[in-house]
């Protein structure tokens, strides 16, 4: 019945436990769903709603605001070519056109074999290395047409082990070992000043360390 597999369900609970309010875990859990499934299904959103105490409409309302969540199947590899200004003036649009030709799909489309989805994206923060792109959010910089074809060829022929499938972002997750965390600070259970702030009073009281002047 459950959408998340056992390991991911445990991860989901761990993620939720880091936020003062469960709804804050909505975006992380959408990422987790996408990691498991490659895209975000209705079932996933229903389960996220349950886990975060919201409604599926809220989950979709939040999720659909963000470009990275896909609500229908997409390619195993998301090829995002930047065409924003810095890249545009150094051949970003030409690279995109070449990519469309090589992959045989228009930007926004997915290849028939389900391998690639091509997107025309906004600035990906590598402007000095134009034209650039990301494959599953891993950078390829100063990409020429030949570089592009080589890259596609490598992926198609299994020479791209460094690239996880679409949905997986960071390969390392934050994990707070039991007993080492300070714990969440929710608005309703932390009305007091944190203890270390008392050091100010001590300092003022004892030798008037002239903190402000």
């Amino acid at each position: 019945m459950s959408f998340f597999d056992t390991a991911n369900l445990a991860t989901a609970h761990e993620i939720i436990s880091r936020y003062p309010k469960p709804k804050s875990a909505t975006i992380p859990l959408l990422h987790l769903a996408q990691q498991q499934h490659g895209w975000v299904s209705d079932d996933a959103m229903r389960e996220i709603a349950q886990l975060t105490g919201t409604t599926p409409a809220e989950v979709k309302g939040t999720g659909s605001f963000y470009e990275m969540f896909k609500f229908h199947p997409v390619g195993k590899y998301m090829v995002n070519v930047c065409t924003n200004l810095s890249c545009q003036i150094l051949g970003g649009e030409e690279l995109l056109a070449h990519a469309e030709e090589t992959l045989g799909v228009k930007a926004g489309g997915t290849t028939a074999d389900g391998m690639f989805t091509l997107e025309d994206v906004e600035c990906i923060a590598a402007c000095t290395e134009a034209p650039c792109l990301q494959v599953n959010y891993r950078y390829k910089l100063r990409v020429g047409n030949d570089d592009f074809d080589q890259m596609i060829d490598d992926i198609r022929n299994g020479r791209a082990d460094d690239l996880p499938e679409h949905g997986t972002l960071a390969l390392v997750r934050q994990a707070i070992p039991a007993g080492t965390g300070a714990g969440i600070t929710a608005p309703e259970n932390a009305r007091e000043a944190p203890v270390w702030m008392a050091r100010n009073d001590v300092a003022e009281g004892s030798d008037d360390k002239d903190g402000g002047a």
């Binding site: 709804k23 975006i27 906004e122 923060a125 903190g211």
Partner: protein, 468 residues
């Protein structure tokens, strides 16, 4: 092709000569590891801080005039003082959503030196009594997320984060959160909405400044990654030392990403206030000038939202005041240089399209106006423009940002600068930002628009020159 002279393991970063405050470890291949960090003074500032009172740290940062690096350039020490006393809990939200066109430096700081950022967060939490920290990283930055996650895990294991940090009563968790692709979430109140699990739509201000009413309605400090990355250095070396760099009003260094038609594009750590645009764009130490055979046509001085500058503004120092008075902003430190091959209308359209795509959709003028602007510009570019379109564009722009829009002086037409910032009919500056490329280009290159509309000359003269 520009020369490849960047640090191989830190693509994009250029190790120029000059003082290094935040990029001091970038030269090491393993700069992101705890081992390297510790070997080069990492977490020393945290120990120094814990030996002092929180108020002392706060006043050191205030003294240093550490200006925010997220765009608005507001002094961090003063912002920190806006926390209303006694309304606990307070939160720290780290803005790592960097998506402004032409900008990147936070990504490098997160990828190359995550421990420095974490240390900055911890010291800030200590100084202000912030009880939980959320580090919000742009979704598309997978490597940055990975490096930060790894660094956090190491730092927890080492006792730098979590319960009873370094054996003191200071306890705080740093929680890594990923964004999911939405430029507007960089706006601090939208970021808070996103952290609460909502659509990233900016909140109304006033009265809701995050320092007063932020995450979960509690007082919240939102600072940029680069801002916080400066905090360990300031804590360790003190405000006086910090102020020996840069100018009086803009002390210290700043990271600038210079992209486009320069010979050596890259991200540089530069002394603020004393370096000029000309130094940066043409200096041997920096970008080494426009690519051969071409001339500067225009440049975006501070991220896609900044009105454009030209030849005449090159001698301005990299400092908020003079840049603002000259009609633009330093913003996020993203400089996009365009030479004479650039089609002004096409370039303007590309940025306008960005704002149209990235509008959150909340304010009517932004939601409808940016898309309308984009479609009119596209029509002009497609050769379907009408003579009335130019005035109409300016009028649509005026309905998003009423009154004279900030723009650089144009001595050739004997026009003065209109100082920054623009007025707005919207909640946040995103919608009004879409106006910058339009007014900047229409004022300066009206003939290019007219040429396209009358189909007299579909290719701008300069571009033709480049082609031939």
């Amino acid at each position: 092709m520009p020369t490849h002279s960047y640090v191989p393991h830190a693509p994009g970063y250029v190790d120029n000569e000059g003082p290094k405050i935040v990029t001091s470890r970038f030269g090491y291949e393993d700069s992101f590891t705890l081992e390297r960090s510790q070997a080069t003074g990492g977490y020393q500032a945290l120990r120094t801080a814990l030996d002092k009172t929180p108020a002392e740290i706060h006043s050191e940062v205030r003294e240093a005039t550490l200006l925010g690096r997220g765009g608005a350039g507001f002094p961090a020490g003063i912002k920190w003082g806006f926390l209303p006393p006694g309304k606990f809990p307070y939160y720290l939200v780290v803005n790592g959503d960097e998506s402004e066109p032409g900008t990147y430096k936070d990504r490098l700081l997160m990828e190359r030196d995550p421990h420095q950022l974490i240390e900055g967060c911890l010291i800030t939490c200590y100084a202000l009594g912030l009880q939980q920290c959320f580090l919000y990283v742009r979704g598309e930055m997978a490597l940055a997320q990975e490096r930060i996650a790894q660094a956090l895990n190491e730092a927890y294991a080492e006792g730098y984060i979590g319960k009873n940090i370094l054996g003191t009563e200071f306890s705080v968790d740093v929680v890594l959160t990923w964004g999911a692709g939405a430029y507007i979430v960089g706006e601090e109140t939208a970021l808070i909405e996103s952290l609460e699990g909502n659509r990233g739509m900016p909140r109304l201000k006033p009265p809701y400044f995050p320092a007063a009413v932020g995450l979960y309605g509690q007082p919240t400090i939102v600072n940029n990654v680069e801002t916080l990355s400066n905090v360990p250095w300031v804590t360790e070396n003190g405000a006086r030392q910090y102020k020996t760099y840069g100018s009086e009003k803009s002390p210290g260094t700043r990271m600038f990403a210079v992209s486009g038609h320069v010979k050596r594009p890259g991200v540089y750590e530069v002394e603020q206030g004393i370096t000029t645009f000309r130094d940066l764009l043409y200096g041997d130490n920096f970008c080494q000038g426009i690519r051969d055979g071409h001339e500067l046509k225009m440049f975006v001085p501070g991220g896609g939202s900044a009105p454009w500058f030209f030849e005449e503004q090159l001698d301005l120092p990299l400092e908020a005041g003079p840049v603002g008075a000259a009609g633009s902003m330093l913003g996020s430190g993203g400089i996009i240089v365009m030479d004479d091959t650039t089609d002004a209308v096409k370039a303007a359209l590309r940025l306008v399209r960005f704002y149209a795509r990235e509008s959150c959709g909340k304010c009517t003028p932004c939601r409808e106006g940016t898309t309308w602007e984009e479609r009119v510009l596209q029509r002009i570019l497609d050769g379907e423009g009408r003579p009335s379109d130019i005035e109409m564009l300016l009028d649509i722009a005026d309905n998003i940002s009423p009154g004279p829009y900030p723009v650089a002086a144009d001595p050739a037409q004997d026009l003065d600068a209109i100082p920054f910032p623009p007025k707005q009919t919207t909640i946040c500056p995103l919608g009004p930002s879409s106006v910058a490329p339009i007014t900047s280009t229409i004022r300066r290159f009206r003939h290019e628009y007219e040429a396209k509309i009358t189909k007299r000359d579909p290719i701008p003269v300069a571009a033709e020159k480049a082609v031939s």
